[in-house]
């Protein structure tokens, strides 16, 4: 391990332990890491955004690209929103251009990609010959119809309609359960990744320091609790 690698491992382990210290309670170490992360991410985003505008907009505009000159001028109109009542309406022009382009480009294929093809996928054949597939396809069909019906409020959900609504609710609960399971998978991955440098040297040498820090916090909390109860006893 080179000195740089050792330093990197130590730093990443220290940052991970400082972030996790929040699990005990809010503390200055956690706040330091939080602020560094938020500040760094925002700073990075601003710099990259500015560089992107400079390279793709300002430079070509400065070289006489008429399309880019127009785009930069329209883009700058966004800031007139800050210029008072008389000029602020100009900012609607770039917003309407953005919305118009977004809708124009996206809408043409949206219906097919996200609605008709998905609808078609729920209309599966029940005559497949395979019992498991027949069950699966029936379940999808019934599940979709009942789930959609759960959100149909124009009739009172009574009798058989109430059963359909209930089935829809159970299908959704299955979906939420699966989503929770995948969520757990993701959160554990997020925990594992920074834990990797902590469980091996040199990062593991920082663990006793972190444990000592938490133990000190617990001891201080205990002392403060004791002092409080003593005060209360003295008062009473």
């Amino acid at each position: 391990m080179t000195p740089i690698e050792t330093l990197t491992a130590l730093l990443s382990s220290a940052v991970a332990l400082m972030a996790w210290s929040f699990l005990y309670k809010d503390n200055p170490f956690y706040r330091l890491v939080e602020r560094v992360l938020v500040g760094g991410t925002i700073g990075y985003g601003v710099v990259l955004g500015m560089r992107s505008v400079w390279n793709r907009g300002i430079l070509p505009a400065a070289q006489g690209d008429l399309t880019m000159i127009l785009a930069v001028v329209v883009g700058l109109l966004l800031y007139l929103r800050l210029g008072g009542k008389k000029v602020s309406w100009y900012s609607r022009i770039p917003v309407s251009v953005l919305l118009g382009v977004g809708f124009g480009v996206g809408l043409t294929t949206m219906i097919q990609a996200q609605i008709t093809l998905q609808l078609a996928d729920t209309m599966k054949s029940l005559a497949t010959g395979n019992l498991l597939t027949i069950f699966s396809n029936t379940f999808i069909m019934v599940g979709v119809v009942c789930t959609v019906f759960y959100f149909f409020y124009s009739v009172e959900h009574k009798g058989p309609l109430s059963t359909a609504s209930k089935i829809g609710r159970y299908v959704m609960m299955m979906g939420f359960g699966a989503a929770f399971g995948f969520n757990l998978l993701g959160r554990t991955s997020v925990l594992i990744s920074p834990l990797l440098p902590v469980v091996k040297p040199p990062g593991i040498y920082l663990v006793p320091i972190a444990v000592a820090g938490v133990a000190y916090g617990l001891w201080k909390d205990y002392q403060q609790g004791q002092a409080k109860s003593e005060k209360q006893t003295a008062k009473s």
Binding site: R56, G186, T188, S189, V199
Partner: protein, 278 residues
């Protein structure tokens, strides 16, 4: 009952248990079995069946916070694509612009074969702002939208880009993304539906259910699920990485959560029954 309830509801006890369950297998691997899902197998087969020299786009639409989940996915996919002698274009259409830097970081971390050169066999085209409009324009004329790569080299000077002018020159679209349905839907609308470019996706666990319907409908060829997808792909491709080594930790944590959920529900039912009796 009261003691168990106290233990299960105290995070000062739950979190150290989770840490031990995650940390122990990382130091002493257990070797629990890993089943490969059909969706990951489909991605593996689709990329593996591309002829050598084909151009593949691997989007890196990720953020720093998601790198724990998608870092291993991006790495194993990239290494596999190079091992199949494919030409890889890394690019980002997401909203954060962090994927470009993360791509550069992982390019510096992984061992790239000596015969694979930047600009010839792979390139990082960086962040393209403008989302759907930019993607549609990029698909029609790549050189018009991507003027320089992430390292500042004009793409007209890169050998890999000489024969790649439009989306029609791209054989496969692999979207590694953190944005759930938003970006895959955008890629499906602008790339898969219009140009019929085969497409697959890899995403974080929490977003997996939002994309899965597109696999069932046949719009996406396959779907990789977070670090588990990476582990499955490492297993299939034989490319060793960190994801497979972390699956023991995943399994132990999941077992623990199942146990805690069961105990919690049994206690809930018992207290409800006990309450009625009283």
């Amino acid at each position: 009952m009261g003691l168990i309830q106290k233990i299960l509801s105290d995070r000062r006890i739950i979190f150290p248990i989770i840490f031990c369950l995650v940390g122990y297998p990382l130091i002493y691997p257990i070797g629990l079995p890993l089943d490969v899902s059909p969706d990951t197998r489909a991605v593996y087969r689709a990329i593996g069946s591309l002829p050598a020299g084909s151009v593949i786009v691997q989007t890196n639409d990720v953020i720093f916070a998601s790198w724990g989940e998608l870092g291993d996915v991006a790495k194993v996919l990239f290494r596999y694509e190079l091992s199949r002698n494919l030409k890889v274009i890394l690019i980002e259409f997401g909203q954060s612009a962090q994927g470009t830097t993360l791509a550069e970081i992982f390019l510096s971390q992984i061992q790239i074969p000596a015969d694979k050169k930047y600009g010839v066999d792979y390139v990082n085209l960086g962040f393209i702002p403008g989302e759907e409009g930019a993607l549609a324009a990029w698909a029609k004329d790549i050189h018009q939208v991507s003027i320089k790569d992430a390292r500042g080299t004009p793409i007209s000077q890169l050998p890999i880009m000489q024969n790649v002018k439009t989306i029609k020159d791209i054989a496969f679209w692999m979207s590694v993304n953190v944005y759930g349905g938003i970006l895959p839907e955008m890629y499906l609308r602008q790339i898969q539906l219009i140009y019929k470019t085969p497409m697959a996706c890899a995403t974080i666990g929490v977003m997996y259910p939002t994309i899965k319907p597109f696999v069932s409908s046949g719009q996406l060829i396959g779907l990789m699920n977070s670090q588990r997808g990476a582990a499955e792909f490492e297993f299939l491709s034989g490319i060793l990485g960190l994801a497979a080594a972390t699956m023991d930790s995943q399994s132990l944590v999941h077992l623990f959560v199942i146990a805690v959920t069961l105990i919690g529900n049994v206690m809930f039912v018992a207290s409800k029954y006990g309450g009625k009796k009283q």
